[in-house]
Symmetry: C2
Amino acid sequence: MKKKTTSRSSRKRRVTAASQVLAVTLEMVATEAGVSPSTVSRILNGTARVRESKVRAVNAAVAKLQFRPNPVARSLAGGKSMSVGVVIQAIESPFYAETLATMEKALFRAGYSVLFVSGHWREDDERRCIEHLLSRRVDGIILMTSCLPEQELIQLSRSAPLVLTGRHVASDRICSLDVDNSPGARLAAEYLIGQGHQRIAFIAGPVEHPDSTQRLDGYKAALAGSHIPFSRKLVVAGDYTDAGGYAAMNRLLDTGESFTAVFAANDQSACGAMLALHRRGLEVPRDISVVGFDDLPSSSFTIPPLTTVHRSINEIAVTTAEAMVELIEGRTPAPRATPATLAIRESTARRRD
Amino acid sequence: MKKKTTSRSSRKRRVTAASQVLAVTLEMVATEAGVSPSTVSRILNGTARVRESKVRAVNAAVAKLQFRPNPVARSLAGGKSMSVGVVIQAIESPFYAETLATMEKALFRAGYSVLFVSGHWREDDERRCIEHLLSRRVDGIILMTSCLPEQELIQLSRSAPLVLTGRHVASDRICSLDVDNSPGARLAAEYLIGQGHQRIAFIAGPVEHPDSTQRLDGYKAALAGSHIPFSRKLVVAGDYTDAGGYAAMNRLLDTGESFTAVFAANDQSACGAMLALHRRGLEVPRDISVVGFDDLPSSSFTIPPLTTVHRSINEIAVTTAEAMVELIEGRTPAPRATPATLAIRESTARRRD
DNA sequence: AGTCTTTTTGAAAGCGCTTGCAAAGTTTAG
DNA sequence: CTAAACTTTGCAAGCGCTTTCAAAAAGACT
């Protein structure tokens, strides 16, 4: 085999956009190492056996030239982009932000970049986000608590493998990850009941959020388990924000309904509720016990520190990322779930008579 | 000109990775519209005048085939990727998370995708992140409070235009955005002084963070402006977390040093400090006034609601995104700054004698 | 040593789009 | 009415990498 320079390598380089620092290409490496571009590619990707001596020569050339493969070209040729899209509902929520951060780290380690977009809990927005990710040719998509109909998700999974958190959809290119919303909520409510509370209010999340409904279900299940009648009057609507929790608690207090504990669908609502109680001169936990859901890092530092349902953000994120990678690589990830536990702190107390 | 099918369009399509839904290519559009691919490209990008009738035909074909250009191919051919990288120090911090979310929205509108990576305030990490972004061929990089030396940034700006927040580096491919750390801090300290406080403690952020130092400077400037001697004993180290603020306050109280107000370098530290005070039986603001910095959304809902230096996250993010786009498109963005203001709430009070 | 396998390797054809160049079509001028 | 001067448009050559295919090299066997 002649070791001559490829005809292409001698062509004049068109000036690339901007003053991009001269890019080292795979061809230059090939020339330097005295092999063909194909061989370099194969060595770099481990897609075929290659004589040991050439491997060394190529590695040396790569090091010498500081070659870094162009992922764009690689995507175009190879059909995969080594990037995954994450659709998050509200990155401004600390819970999601932290999850995203951890996922990014895990995916980065696996060689993937993450493109994220915020869906804001609206079907249309979510569709647009997905469209965008797809047009960017991501290799897979992670949907955190998607609000799209099941059929659409299955349909979508034909374009890209999907990992869903907080939803369950059965399909081969979809991996669903249960985040224990309902059991977690039940845990919290049962704890309150165990502390002697009977009239437990619930500050709900937005009705359109599936996880919000699941938490309400857990709450109901706990009541039912202890034969405590469920009362609509003790359920007030929130929106997962501090402000929403604050307003909800005020509304609840205005109804005059009596209660000794409140379970909020997330920590932020719980914080808002605590402030409302405080303003009305009610002391937590002496007068009213409060429980949240999520266990944000800041929840250990509220006054008083919040008792809340803890979910390991780290575990959720890492598990999700792993599942995504497995799915992309064609394997079938084992079903997973991350159990919720209860972090008991100082916002709850035994009911006083 | 003959309107014949391009030779290429008839070639057999290699099966692409996964069951990717059949991709419509520009060539198919060209065939459908009865023009050449070049013409389609030119119409799509507006890079040359084209007869009105063809424009219509192409647009019709695009609509009919639901053509969506492949950004990967476009990047490879055109040299730009329509994506920008954002290096954030700690996405787990609500402040950064929210900024990132807003930036994403703004850049999305301008047609750019965002790739983000977390630097964790470490020079090495930051370098690795930048490397990664560069290898992904981003068109520009936004560095939030970078900790890299100026020379390196200038050097870097030759590879990609840069937008820096909280740093000032003069160079043509760099746009620096002042986020008013020092003036903001000064505002807060002056307010406390105006409320009669003289012994004002300061909970600092990590020394390696440039913005942390700037805030300390603002605090010192305020003291100096009122001829109040600066005392090292009133400055305790924090790390921008709730836990750090909590520990810092405990240490401060343990020293027995007297003070009537505390200024924390960020809201999270302030929250931690408030809890520490609470545990020691000190009431905010009756016994001690507390001021934070950042004005996180949750800071309006702490108990008591926190007085803090407000910065418009929205403004910072949008301004940054705009500057990035201008820089990428070769224009020179006007210098910008986002002024900090003081959000006076209930954690501060006039000094009691 | 010669034949049949099995490996290793290179040439070349893409991936889908942009763009320089020159041919074809139009308009204007002489 | 033809030549000169623009405009519009297609051809084809890339962008940097992967991968198929077939040729070359190396082994395995008579």
